[in-house]
Amino acid sequence: MSAVLTLDFTVNGKRRRVRVPPMKRLLDVLREDCGLTGTKEGCGEGECGACTVLMDGVPVNSCLVPAVQAAGVKIVTVEGLAKGPALSVLQRAFVERGGTQCGSCTPGILVTAHALLQRAKGRVPGDAEVRVALAGNLCRCTGYQMIVNAVRAAARETLASGPGRAARTARPVAREQGKSARAKSKPVKTKAKARTTATVRAQAKPARAKAGVARRRPGPGR
């Protein structure tokens, strides 16, 4: 029994050795001893999921894990999601589809979503499935819908670019979304001046969001 532990583990693919108290939270080990402050504390009691990291591939609340139990494990944090300088497909989907607002919950949500996509390999998880997987990650900004959309869009994109699939289902994201956006924006054909409306829920590309807006002539009405 000792008050200081020499902890050897792997973080984002790098072997690490730190000397820490054995009951120090993995969250604090990552933030203070490894300098990885991307992982956030939101509640300290495993409720909000802001501190989610992968431990040997499965998401855990790092605020509930003592350092001693991280010995020899592989940890992935938000900082380890991108391979190289470019954003991962999932990260990019969050930026493009409104999946991040204040950003406090974002690291934990990305890590959980990443684990979900790993498990769902070769399949686009359904809306309900994504919501259940993310039930342990609280977000107070978005209403979750754009988060769910981003996760599913990333799955579709990954699927489309996967080996052997590209030819058959070339860019289904764009196609599918484009279609839905077109279909839904039909009334807009008469354009802004017609004071018409359409849903804005399915935005394929940032620029498309415009289609979802009911615009009216300026000035006094009625």
Binding site: T100, G103, K210, R216, R222
Partner: protein
């Protein structure tokens, strides 16, 4: 009047550049947030930094008799600060200066700060908290609106009233005399915690020159700046406030950061070392501000066809122990209390009461959710009593252009109450669902009586409810004039336009929207536009990031700055600017030949806006945004649990500068409204918050959140940049009333108190079953 500024400003000589406004460009802060690179206050460290903790009162009201420091504790390295260490005024300067930074003798609410400790090791600082014993003699406390109104115990003046407003129009008595039907109801709502995911936090330093630098999570750098001047008796130039990446605010970082910054700065002042105070969730929920609870009595008179002829509202809010933001929250609540309805005879009385609870403060909606929830619950009740479709009743009374509000404000333009109702109803399939759910519920009831149950044996009922809301954008009445906001645009050394404003990004997308509006006017891409960190040494005071004012008011100033900058550069170049590369070329040449370029614009009140603070008459807001919400629920008769199946909402926000961000605001605000209506309840025990854990103060998860079908309606406001009005708060105002109506439709139980917890609903249902 009928031309958009867009057209007016576009020079004929240039090619049309890609539009920046109305396009969902990548969120400016998106990349740093998805990579974990964004640095929030708790991610920052400074050499020699101490960690501060706060000794708080355990009782709601009392007199401090003794403060003891455990002699057995090792006090080495512990810095202690109390009220005697405050160099200036012991107050948190808001509108008034009645809230002490640290308690002197009187304790006015539980968890009130008494003294501060700090240590280099956070564990030692925490331990020091336990080694301070404060002996407080408890006194009878006032803990509820009812107790405060009864004034058996007086804690503020003779009647415990912190603030009162009275608004009147027409002849109320004549209105009621003229009515065929008079309906009355009392509607209650409780505290709500903002629950930003990032807790409140600050780091303060004492500079070598005898000044103070504070960094932290906040909505209003200049509020903090002002408060610190008072606390430390320092001139403005010796205080510097810098916003760090802020993990949500929702009003919870509007006024409270001034107090927290004062605490951190006091410890830094005394120790000479940087001091960080970051609350944990338990402390944040227990000690920081909440939404004001309210009891709202609504009495309305109607003609048989539903036409509103008299409205009498008496709204009482719980202000907590100090005045803080209550007068303005109350004012806004009162100004919206009549709902977006036309009524010739109105009386609105609004009071904020003092209680011995932590001061309630700003929270998205700022008093409006309370009064709009009451009015909308009431309208649903009226519809039921008159046998009218709630949509028909609302359409009949909803304001249109030319109508007059209770303060006598004529609604001249951009009035979309009817339009958002119609769009919402159409999109939600209102009429069909109203009928279908009613039919299905009756069938389910018959089947259950015959012993036939749905799969899983559940007894479920569905319903759909509707609500309409409005929200005035910007500060009330003369508020914007008092703020006197100044925003600026300059050129960076590399020749890029740079936004200088004190308004902060808290997730809502403020800085992205700023870059779009500026880019549109300069004819460049938003990527080219830089945004300076909100730092009081670098940006002018463009006012607080509150009141749905950032896009409309500050964006408007920046848009003017951009126009002026373009004019200056085009005059200099003697030709029109043409896109990013050309802009930079011209800008660099300007910098080289003429020196720095900085354009400023100060808020100018439009001449036609007239407001009388004394009589509370006139143009309360330059314009209103309008929203309607249809909520569909499923109630479980066995458990009282209510699940939201779907929400449809149309909201008129003038112009969506960034549609995706606007929808993000609407979806997020809507879910907060659903949480307030169904789940979120602050529970109290002996004057302290009992459920100050995230495990017990519950907010919606992804599974609780329904699909949200959002329609943006754009009915431009001529005084807003590109026609934009406010969007931030409106989405929070409307859902609760629709939830109440949907639950009534599903179960027949009309709930007059939110949140509609399973306990409350089951009690109401049992009451009905017994009566049958």
């Amino acid at each position: 009047m009928t031309r958009t500024p867009t057209r007016r400003a576009r020079p004929k000589t240039t090619l049309r550049p890609q539009p920046a406004v109305g396009v969902s460009v990548p969120k400016r802060d998106g990349e740093e947030k998805v990579t974990g690179r964004a640095l929030y206050v708790d991610d920052l460290k400074f050499p020699g930094m101490l960690h501060g903790r706060t000794v708080r009162s355990m009782v709601a009201r009392g007199i401090i008799r003794r403060v003891e420091f455990d002699p057995a504790f090792d006090w080495n390295g512990v810095v202690i600060a109390d009220h005697k260490d405050i160099p200036g005024l012991n107050c948190v300067a808001h509108l008034t200066e009645d809230q002490p930074l640290l308690a002197v003798r009187e304790i006015e609410h539980a968890d009130q700060a008494i003294l501060l400790v700090a240590h280099a090791d956070p564990e030692r600082a925490q331990a020091a908290l336990g080694a301070v014993r404060v002996e407080v003699e408890s006194i009878d406390a006032v803990l509820s609106i009812e107790d405060s109104l009864a004034a058996r115990v007086k804690i503020r003046g003779a009647d415990n009233v912190l603030k009162e407003y009275n608004i009147a129009r027409g002849d109320l008595a004549a209105g009621f005399a003229d009515a065929d039907v008079v309906v009355e109801g009392v509607y209650r709502c409780g505290h709500q915690e903002q629950l930003y995911l990032e807790n409140n936090g600050m780091i303060a330093e004492r500079t070598a020159e005898g000044g103070i630098v504070v960094r932290g999570s906040m909505q209003c750098p200049y509020f903090v700046h002002h408060a610190l001047q008072r606390t430390f008796g320092l001139p403005p130039e010796r205080i510097r406030v810098i916003q760090t990446v802020t993990g949500g605010g929702f009003g919870g970082k509007e006024d409270y950061p001034s107090l927290l910054a004062g605490h951190a700065a006091l410890l830094a002042w005394k120790s000479g070392r940087p001091v960080k105070i970051v609350y944990d969730r338990l402390e944040d929920i227990a000690a920081t501000t909440k939404r004001h609870p309210a009891v709202v009595r609504v009495r309305t008179g109607h003609r048989r066809d539903g036409t509103l002829v008299a409205t009498d509202v008496d709204a009482v809010m719980d202000g907590g122990a100090y005045v803080t933001m209550s007068p303005v929250v109350l004012s806004r609540g009162a100004l919206h209390a009549g709902g977006a309805y036309r009524c010739p005879n109105v009386r609105i009385r609004a009071r904020a009461m003092a209680t011995n609870t932590p001061p309630n403060g700003a929270f998205r909606g700022f008093g409006v959710p309370q009064t709009v929830y009451a009015m909308e619950s009431h309208m649903d009740r009226v519809a039921a009593e008159l046998g009218l479709d709630p949509l028909v009743l609302r359409r009949r009374n909803a304001v249109v252009v030319g109508d007059v509000t209770p303060t006598g404000q004529v609604l001249h333009e951009s009035v979309s109450a009817v339009e958002v109702l119609d769009r919402t109803a159409e999109r939600a399939g209102w009429a069909e669902k109203r009928r279908r759910y009613g039919r299905e519920n009756a069938a389910a009831e018959r089947a259950e009586r015959a012993g036939r149950f749905a799969p899983g044996g559940r007894r479920l009922r569905r319903g759909i409810g509707l609500a309409l809301g409005w929200h005035g954008a910007g500060f009330t009445g003369g508020g914007e004039v008092r703020l006197n906001s100044l925003a600026a645009l300059d050129l960076s050394p590399e020749g890029r336009p740079r936004v200088l404003a004190a308004n902060v990004e808290i997730g809502q997308g403020a800085i992205t929207v700023f870059t779009q509006m500026v880019a549109e006017r300069l004819g460049v891409s938003p990527d080219l536009v830089l945004v300076e960190t909100p730092d009081t040494d670098r940006v002018p005071n463009s006012g607080p990031t509150v009141a749905s004012r950032t896009t409309m008011v500050v964006g408007g100033l920046l848009e003017q700055c951009a126009r002026a900058m373009r004019e200056r550069l085009e005059l200099f170049a003697e030709r029109a600017l043409d896109g990013d590369a050309d802009f930079r070329r011209v800008a660099r040449r300007f910098l080289a030949e003429r020196g720095p370029l900085r354009v400023e614009r100060r808020y100018q009140k439009p001449a036609h806006i007239v407001w009388n603070e004394e009589t509370y008459q006139g143009d309360a807001y330059p314009c209103f945004s309008y929203g309607a919400v249809a909520v569909e629920v499923e109630a479980d008769l066995d458990t009282g649990e209510v699940r939201v199946l779907r929400v449809t909402t149309a909201q008129d926000i003038g112009r969506a500068i960034h549609p995706l961000l606007c929808i993000g605001q609407i979806e997020g605000g809507t879910l907060q409204g659903l949480g307030w209506a169904l789940l979120e309840e602050v529970r109290w025990k002996d004057g302290r918050i009992w459920n100050h854990q995230l495990t017990n103060y519950i907010i919606p998860t992804a599974v609780d959140a329904p699909p949200l079908d959002v329609l943006i309606v754009e009915n431009p406001y001529s005084g807003g940049p590109f026609g934009a009005k406010g969007v931030g708060e409106l989405p929070m105002d409307v859902p609760a009333g629709a939830v109440v109506a949907a639950v009534a439709h599903a179960t027949g139980a009309r709930m007059d108190e939110i949140p509609i917890t399973p306990e409350r609903l089951l009690r109401a249902l049992d009451g009905r079953e017994e009566r049958r």
